[in-house]
Symmetry: C2
Subunit: 671 residues, 2 copies
């Protein structure tokens, strides 16, 4: 009896170890130990995903003297791979390398199926790669007249034998391509498989191009990330204005469009789908890939966008009781929503939470994971609407607040959408009351040299959302605005920047004859209404949760992520909180969509979460009205902004009030 | 404590019985006993499907004195139903009728969910109704702002509570219609559910129109049954010529068309789908229904038709190894194959067995169920190709035989497809050798008075498949044809119906100057080749099964079902068998499709069966060639047709032979 020599192999970073007969391939050894080593080609030396590295000289740590002699020399297939695709110094294909002595083998992150990707969230979370669509290379048995099984059945058999995948189904469109692919590939094909259940694409021979898109469809803009599905890398990002905008600036005007125009929902669905396809084309061009290689898409959006992409009439969302058609996650064929990606690719829609709280909020939760923390997080997503999420690992609450579109620059006299030329940062000299500012598209302040030159192309066209927030906060800090939100007319006589207009006063930010930029009393009122709604919503959720304060605040959304947290707090948009714990985190909805794209379990997690989230409907809460009225004033009037007082020198409350028009006029005349 | 009075109720025909508190509805009582009582509306007195009948005066049999007083009088809802939709004498709605005394209640077949339908097969099988699509009427909870679940989720909840259906999914197209249907129906809707898994259609309020189609797609003709899905009744039947015929008469010429014309498979797929849609329109018009109410379709066809309807290139089926794309059953959306029925309706394709043995053969097995019998059945399906099934409840074998298209009238000088004007029945006087015949479209024989008048419109245009079989068999019985299949030229001198042609002889059936109808020696040869292939195939299967004889033979297929079994046996198309056990059974494939339409478990049964069937590829069997050559002669030459000899007076073997052309000429000249 021959006794087969056995050798010890230790895999890092997992630390898994075992003894194997001489001649065992490193891939087989690793797999039998449950080491996470990737492979698309199933050990045929084609894909190069199973690369490992010999850790030489390791002794002390693992009790193994690891040297080159512990491994077989380069096999023919490995040499061929190196010549064809290159192999870095001291990298080996684990499928072609055999164990000949004790060794320590490192599996680099790029060779792990479930490698981790760092995602840009407030906590820079690590996401485990586990996409819904995976590619598998297989060798299929040729047909045999004596055993006349179908080509598909032999493909399924190969997937069972070579990948352990059972009871697979196949899309018709893929079936239509299967026979040609098998014969072109000489009985070797690569298939894409969705959630280990269904074959969704086929290519002759070896194929390793698999991409996905994460799409955040906002009412104003659509943002798309193109991701490589193995590595999770974002290979292209693009965005465009939602083409629906020509049918209405905000969500409600689009619902009105549908209600007023029979078939309007079809027009809006077409428009948004066309926009999405334009972006698919754009990101594919940027990354130089064929859109056909996009095999998976994840969509997030507010309920109305969610419904319109799906071709569902959003009318019900336009009025109470704001009934969603569905609050479940949905998986569809890309072709069902006319995507120009692979027609059999899958499109996944994260679930909406309530009629006002959409899949974008679900994505925000997925991204920032307040449910995984003990600390109480308040997430404020301010776009055209504002959604609020509050809670921790015990409870999670969500609501939307009727802020209206003021934060987007609408209903503001000199307001405009965030675009080059819009004022986004403002500072006001407390003595002279003169404003200086930055506009989108230039890093220079308006009082710096070269500003005119730098903004020549765009000009200074208006104030965007974050600009108006800073303007009001700075006006308040400079004593121009009272805690009640009144532009102090008594300054008009001494200060050229305060001017009477009609029955009230305005603050002049830029005295430009053609396009003077001013903040009117009505503008202050519009922002007050919006910020009061936001604050009242947060307060209502805090009440429900039974807390007086939150541990951290995250600002997100098209607008939210551009606000300077300090100014948001001065204005009282958000509750008092240590400013170090208030962060603008960028587009978290888009990040959540990317997480759902890269990790299929995140989808299941989101669907479970959505059921657990306690939905609060602000419109029907009596206390909301009370909080709303209370929140109209600037916050430190109610003296609960302790943290804020630590960092800014708040002016003393002034007493100026707006009286009715005639009263005001009388007082001015009396002077 | 109040003691509730209990009463005995006995249900017939099930015999189930139990005691229930006074006031229990008959539907509830029946359901709790497991009595099969149908209901679409869930006991709301709308659908009328739960009708039962009081069996009065029953005492002896069931020990119950059953009288009208044992039941509550007509309730309001029942009266309303009777006024609206009518209620037959002594019928009651079991959902609205309450138990007040001991009663015997009969549940008529029409009120049973799983009622039995007799299907026209050789054994007139009873099929239990259990369609894949069922309708359910539900009352859905209205949306509530405080508990913002989606409309779909509340529908799913209603289906769980009211019908016990769990974890339902929903097609996007149905989701798009859901909200409007709920509001139009005032929170009452009817949904169609496929296999208790997925909602595939929705209607506001109560809806009870559910139809299905069973479609047999042959290379020559397409046949369609429109069935009512509750009762199983065939409400319309229609057929048309397969529009693909313009691209090739038989299957192989269509595969050639695809091979010669790039994109030809798309042309053929379009053609056959258009034909199917034309039939859907036709049967819908006949039954006066909206095609949108067709919720399910079952397709059967040979492998090439199966592939072409599915849009799969059939090229691989045109040559060895004749690989199918799939040999599994398939469920698709009707829209995936462009059907004009309900777009979310489901289309089911029965599985093919092998590259030459299609889903039509699977359907034939499903219809005739040889696998449920101890007797050994041989099924012969003769259309453009011939498929054979042999076996019993132990083993089942299948093969196809390369008969060529002679049986369809092709390759026969005066042959034609079965159509008005074609000779289908032939008798030859053994003394005068004069033929008389019947043509399709008339019941008169050619020697009967009025024949010319009756066939004036069509004329006598040629001989169809069954006609040529009878002609040859009768020629043989009349001594015109030898056992070797030679037209006996020695008769030419004395008989005007035997005439020399070129190098051989022909038999004149109709001496019409414009269009004389003759049987030429080449015609005899063509049929000999075809019938020898058929017989050799049967013999091969019998060899494999290890039997010398079969217990019964079923003839089916477009052509097979029109053959007179006697003549088929005289000619030696089929093995010897007691003629009483040889039956032409009509279009069994179409019946099998209907069974799969009416009973979803039959689909699963078929899929299991197909795996069990032993596939025999005649082309690669050496013994097939031998059997084929042996079978060229007329059968009793080999003396194994004992049963045949009992019923027909077979002539003595003659000795005439065909010699080569020159020899024949010499002999004739020598006379």
């Amino acid at each position: 009896m021959e006794i087969l020599e056995k050798h010890l192999v230790v895999f890092t970073p997992s630390g898994k170890r075992g003894h194997f007969p001489a001649g065992t391939s490193l891939l087989d050894a690793g797999r039998s130990l449950g080491v996470d080593i990737d492979s698309v080609c199933g050990g045929r030396g084609i894909c190069g995903r199973c690369q490992v590295r010999l850790v030489e000289g390791e002794f002390a740590k693992h009790g193994v003297k690891s040297t080159k002699s512990g491994l077989s020399t380069f096999a023919k297939g490995e040499v061929k791979y190196r010549e064809r695709r290159g192999l870095a110094e001291n990298r080996r294909l684990s499928c072609h390398t055999k164990l000949l002595g004790d060794v320590v083998i490192d599996v680099p992150a790029s060779s792990q199926v479930h490698s981790q990707v760092v995602v840009k969230t407030a906590d820079n979370r690590k996401i485990e790669m586990d996409p819904a669509i995976r590619l598998h290379f297989i060798t299929v048995q040729e047909p045999d007249m004596h055993n006349p099984t179908g080509d598909f059945e032999r493909v399924a058999q190969a997937l069972e034998q070579q990948w352990g995948l059972l009871e697979l189904e196949c899309d018709l469109r893929t079936l239509q391509k299967l026979q040609k692919a098998l014969r072109l590939g000489k009985w070797e094909i690569t298939v894409a498989i969705h959630r280990d259940l269904r074959i969704t694409a086929v290519w002759p021979g070896f194929h390793d191009k698999a991409y996905g898109i994460a799409v955040d469809v906002g009412s104003t803009t659509i943002a798309m990330h193109l991701c490589e599905l193995f590595s999770g890398d974002v290979v292209a990002t693009s965005g465009l204005m939602n083409p629906q905008i020509r049918y209405g600036e905000d969500l409600m005007s689009r619902v009105s469009y549908v209600m007023m125009n029979p078939g309007g929902e079809v027009v809006l669905t077409d428009a948004v789908r066309k926009g999405i396809n334009k972006l698919i084309k754009a990101v594919s061009d940027m990354a130089n890939i064929d859109p056909d290689h996009i095999l998976n898409a994840v969509f997030v959006g507010n309920p109305i966008m969610h419904h319109l992409i799906l071709g569902i009439d959003p009318t019900e969302l336009g009025g109470a009781p704001f009934a969603l058609t569905t609050n479940s996650g949905m998986t569809l064929w890309a072709s069902e929503i006319d995507l120009i990606s692979n027609p059999d690719g899958r499109a996944y829609f994260l679930p909406c939470i309530a009629g006002h709280v959409g899949a974008d909020t679900t994505a925000v939760i997925l991204s920032e994971a307040p449910h995984l923390q003990e600390r109480i997080t308040l997430i404020v997503d301010v776009g055209t609407n504002a959604e609020l999420v509050l809670g921790n690992n015990e409870r999670l609450l969500a609501a939307s607040s009727p802020t209206g579109p003021a934060f987007e620059g609408a209903q503001i006299a000199c307001g405009q959408r965030a675009a080059p030329g819009a004022i986004e940062r403002v500072r006001i000299d407390p003595i002279t009351k003169k404003a200086r500012f930055q506009v989108i598209g230039s890093a220079l302040w308006s009082d710096e040299e070269g500003f005119s030159e730098a903004t020549k192309k765009s000009g200074v066209t208006g104030i965007c959302g974050s600009g108006i927030i800073e303007a009001l906060a700075e006006m308040y800090l400079a004593g121009i605005l009272t805690t009640d939100g009144v532009i102090d007319g008594s300054l008009a006589d001494t200060c050229p920047y305060i001017i009477p207009t009609d029955r009230t006063f305005a603050y002049v930010m830029l005295d430009n004859e053609e396009n003077p930029i001013r903040v009117y009393q009505t503008d202050v009122r519009a922002i007050q209404l919006a910020k009061a709604a936001l604050y009242a919503g947060a307060k209502l959720l805090m009440d429900r949760l039974g807390v007086d304060a939150v541990d951290r605040i995250l600002l997100t959304g098209a607008f939210g992520s551009h606000i300077d947290p300090k100014y948001a707090m001065i204005l009282g948009m958000i509750p008092d909180c240590d400013l170090d714990d208030v962060n603008a985190i960028g587009n978290a909805a888009s990040t959540g969509a990317r997480i759902a794209l890269l990790n299929k379990n995140a989808r299941d997690e989101a669907e479970e979460l959505v059921k657990r989230v306690e939905k609060v409907e602000t419109a029907v809460e009596p206390t909301f009205q009370q909080y709303f009225i209370e929140a109209m004033a600037l916050p430190h009037k109610t003296a609960d902004f302790e943290n804020l007082k630590k960092i800014v020198d708040l002016p003393k409350p002034s007493t100026a009030t707006i009286v009715d028009g005639s009263g005001r006029r009388r007082r001015r005349r009396a002077k």
